[in-house]
Symmetry: C2
Subunit: 362 residues, 2 copies
Amino acid sequence: MAANRIHNFNAGPAALPLSVLEEIQESFLNFKGSGMSITEISHRSKWFDDVINDAVTRTKRLLNLGKNFHVLFIQGGASLQFCMIPMNLLPDDRSADYVDTGTWSSKAIKEAQIQGKSVKVVASSADKNYTYIPKDIQFCDDAAYVHITSNNTIKGTQWAKFPVTNGIPLFADMSSDIMSRPFDPAPFGLIYAGAQKNIGPAGVCMVIIRDDMLRRIPENLPTMLNYTTYVSENSLYNTPPCFAIYTVQLVLKWLEDTIGGLEKMEALNQEKAGLLYEFLDSSEFYRTTAEPESRSLMNITFRLPDEDLEKRFVAKALKNELGGLKGHSSVGGCRASIYNATTLAAVKALIDFMMNFESKFD
Amino acid sequence: MAANRIHNFNAGPAALPLSVLEEIQESFLNFKGSGMSITEISHRSKWFDDVINDAVTRTKRLLNLGKNFHVLFIQGGASLQFCMIPMNLLPDDRSADYVDTGTWSSKAIKEAQIQGKSVKVVASSADKNYTYIPKDIQFCDDAAYVHITSNNTIKGTQWAKFPVTNGIPLFADMSSDIMSRPFDPAPFGLIYAGAQKNIGPAGVCMVIIRDDMLRRIPENLPTMLNYTTYVSENSLYNTPPCFAIYTVQLVLKWLEDTIGGLEKMEALNQEKAGLLYEFLDSSEFYRTTAEPESRSLMNITFRLPDEDLEKRFVAKALKNELGGLKGHSSVGGCRASIYNATTLAAVKALIDFMMNFESKFD
C-alpha cells in the first residue's frame, strides 16, 4: 500500500503518520461499522461524538491541561484567529503586547490594527531580518495579553523557552510546533494552531482557551466569531469540519499510543533536528540562516552557495524522493520541515543526499 | 470494497457518490503520483492548483455562470456567511429584504441584526409553522439585496421558482439544493452553499459572487472576512481546506461526466422525489408535512400516526440498512434526505420498507 511514497519535507500541509493515513484509507467506505464514510455520517451522531470527545480528551492529556482550559475546533485557520483574538479578548479600552518575529506575527498584529485595536509591538527581530527570537523583553504591566508566534516556519526560528509574563496571559500561535514538546500550560490564556503542520490536515484550527478569558468577550459578536459559541456547543454549533477533526483525533492517538507522549516526541524531534544541524554546521557548502540559539526544531532553513545551485538541489532531491525542500517564496533558499510525522529515516536519507550533492559541487 | 454500505438518508453531512469515495480511497496514500496523500501536498503546488481550478471551472460550466461571477471556497460553513454577507454587502445606510422560511433564514436574519444592520423581513411563513414558501412578495425598491433560503432542510420546503426581484440582487443560501437543478444565475448577486449536502464533505462553503457586488465592500474588514481576499487570491490567501475542496472537485466531475449535467440531475431528482411523494400521498398511515406546492425535492418530511411509531420506524429502518431517517430534533417526525448522491435504488428500497412497515401496523 505504501509503495512509491516519498520523504515529505513540506512546510504545511505536511507529512502525516503513515499508520494514520492507512487507517483512514482502510475505513473510508465504512466507518466503525456505520455503513457510511466518515465524510457521510452525521455530526450529531454517537460516532462523531466519540471522535470529537476523544480528540478533546487526548489534547488535554497530552498537554497536561487543567480543567480550566477548553479545547475548541474552529474553521478558518490561524489566519482567522488573528482577527478573532482581538475581537473577543482585547477590550477597546486596553492594549495588547505583541512580539514580532516574522510574517505570521506581523499578520496577527495587522489584523488587530485593522479593527482599530490598541497594540504595542514590544519586541521585534525585524532589525536582523527575523533571524532570531528577542530576549529580555519588557512587557507592559497592564497589557491585556502578550502575543507570540512560538515557531516561525518561514525564518526557521523558535522560542526555546517561553517568555515570563508575570501574570499577563500569554497567547501563542503554535501552528507549527504544537504537540512537538511538553510545556507548562499555566501561563497561557490562549493557544491556537492550524492543524496542517503537526496534528492533521488543513481545514481545522485547534484553539485552547482558559476559562477566565471568556469573561472578556463583548456582547453582540457574530455567533461564529464568538469563542463562547464553540465552548458552549463543544465546537458543534454548526456542522464542523468532520474529516479534519477525525484525522486530528487519529494523529493524537498516534502521539499517545505509538510515540508515547510529548516527552518522547520531543526527544525524537531533538534527535532529528540535532542530526541535521550537526551536518549543516560541519559543512562549508550549506549554511543555516537562523541564529543558533533561536533555531527551530521544526523548520530548518538553509542556503547553498548560489540560487542556481539551490534550484538544482531542490529538483534533484525530488528525483531522489525527497520532496518539499524549497524555501518559502518570500525568502528563497531551502527548508526542511521536519514535523512530528517526519521520520528519523527521512532525515537520514536527506543528509545522505545532501552529502552526495555537496560532493559533486564542492 | 463497497460491502456493508447502507442506504444513507442523512440531512448533512450526507451521502456522497460511491465512485467518488472509491477514488479518494484508492489514491489516498499517493495522490496523482506525488508520493504523498492529498492531505499532505502543498496548497501552493501544481497538484492542488489543478484541483481548485478544475472545481472552479466545473462550477462555472455546470451553473452556466457568466464571466462576471467568482467562485470561492471559504471555511466556516453557511453559518459564517450569515455574518459575512451583511458585513461585506449591506452598507450601514441601506436596508436588506429577507424572506423567513424557517431556521436557517431566521439565523441569517439574526446575524445581520447582531451587527446592527437594517433588515426588513418582507415575508415569512412562520404563521403556518414554516410549512410553505411565501408567494407574491413585495420587495422594497431600494433594498440592498433580497435574501432567501432556497431549500429548507428542516421543514422540507423549497422554492420551486425563484422570486422576481426586478433588478434587486438576489442572495440565496443554497446549501441543501445547489447543483440539484439548473437555474438562471443572472438575477443572483451572491449564492452560497455549505458543501456537506449536495457537493462534498463538511468543512468548506462554496460562495459565488457577482463582480459588481465587490464594489460595496467597506475598507478595513478583517482580511479573512473580506470577500475580496478570496477573489484576489483564488481562495488561496491562507491554507484552504484542501481535502474538502478536492472532494467537491470529484463530486462536480461526477455530476458532469457520470450524471451528465444539471438537467439530467434534476430529472433524476424529480423521479426520486416523485416516487416517494406519490407513495406518501397514497398512504393513510404516513402523512407529509409541507404544503404540496412548496415541497422539497431534497428533504422529504413526514409523520407517522404517533411518536412511538416514529421511533420504531427509524430504528427498524436502520436494521434494514436504511439510515438517517429521523427528523430534525427541533421538529421531530421523520425525514428522508435524498440529495444528488442518493440513488433511485435507495429510494425504492425505502418505499418497499415503508410499505412493509405500514402493513404491520395499519
